[in-house]
Subunit: 225 residues, 2 copies
């Protein structure tokens, strides 16, 4: 990852995911190049990749801007992710190995540790979660499926709301991971597929609830100003 275009990609991506670059912001190549300490050439490559990820969009005249995700876009992405990731779970269950089981259990353990702290370690939770899903995708053994899911996993709005997850939500997510693990241990593809569908759609509704709550809060705040 020492190539300049990779650094630019990572840097811009982080700025978008963190919200430092807000939705709708214009992305001038020159300005980004200076921010990343590289020339425009690698920045242009990075922007193309981010465009494929649908994290940035383009006007009809090739001006680049941070993509603005409507609530419908998010719902759409979650539904597609539920479909694809549950398929990955089924394939993974059918091809599961003992070595992969051990890694999955390890990921779940660190995830459990993260949520049992007196103050839940959300970053640790997200890391364990990411690893869990990555192992499933790896065992599923479809490069194409992995490529399709790649653009769906990290969504800017979602990451920011994940930090507001209640302990109860974290606990439920962990419980679902344990149930998925049981399905994998039994090599039961249909079971794994069903739990994964439910897991993703529950996460979507947790997001949607948080989104509504934030909208209400925002409106209250605006009214107060």
């Amino acid at each position: 990852m020492s190539r300049a275009s990779d650094r630019a990609y990572g840097a811009i991506r982080n700025m978008i995911l963190s919200g430092e670059l807000p939705a709708g912001a214009q992305l001038g190549e020159e300005a980004l190049a200076e921010m990343c300490g590289v020339s425009r050439t690698p920045v242009r490559e990075a922007l193309r990749r981010l465009e494929a990820d649908m994290l940035v969009g383009r006007t009809d005249t090739q001006r680049t801007f941070v993509a603005d995700w409507s609530i419908d876009d998010v719902a759409d992405a979650f539904e597609l992710r539920a479909m694809l990731e549950s398929r990955a779970a089924r394939r993974a269950a059918e091809r599961m190995t003992d070595a992969a089981m051990a890694r999955i259990r390890g990921a779940n353990r660190s995830l459990a540790t993260a949520i049992q702290q007196s103050v839940p370690d959300v970053a640790g939770f997200l890391d364990g979660n990411r690893e869990f899903h990555a192992i499933i995708l790896e065992v599923a053994g479809s490069r194409r499926l992995a490529a399709l899911l790649g653009t769906l996993i990290e969504q800017p709005v979602v990451l920011r709301t994940a930090r507001q997850y209640s302990r109860e939500e974290l606990r439920r997510s962990h419980a679902e991971h344990e149930e998925l693990t049981a399905a994998f241990a039994r090599r039961d593809g249909a079971w794994a597929e069903a739990i994964m569908t439910s897991h993703i759609l529950r996460a979507y509704h947790a997001y949607a609830d948080a989104h509504r709550a934030r909208l209400d809060a925002g409106m209250t705040q605006e009214a107060a100003e």
Copy 2:
């Protein structure tokens, strides 16, 4: 489409889809630039896009080559396409408009005309087929779904075998389009979804049969040499 990078993308893509650039061939940026009459910069952009399409791959040291599709890769792509495109069909049925119905019927008419020639007009068939599926995707109204399917629709091996479709296969494909049209006319999402799944998977098996036949023929030919 007058930008140099678009021309390069189209030109290289056609060379891959037509088989002019065979699977596994090294793709030197300089050589491609000369072929397309542009400089390396737009060629590099085109290669990145083709990489996202999974039409080209990269070695661990960044050398680019034409992707080699195993029979398993093709099966994988067809299964994913069946899943995604049947979802598109369901959404399209639920959102269908009279105007879109008219366009779908028009695409089917030109498709019917193409296969009724004394010598079937396969290019015309493929055009009508493409338009039919494009309208469905448009009516489905999910930009993200369209983006995911974009990388799955045109596969090099498939296009080349489509030209060997028998009249019977073309006729069956057209019959399935008519049945899909009926499902759309009834706004019946479940029906449309089921037919589309079947439509894609039948097309896969037609491909797989042709592939096996070609393998046999190839082996015979080799033995004869």
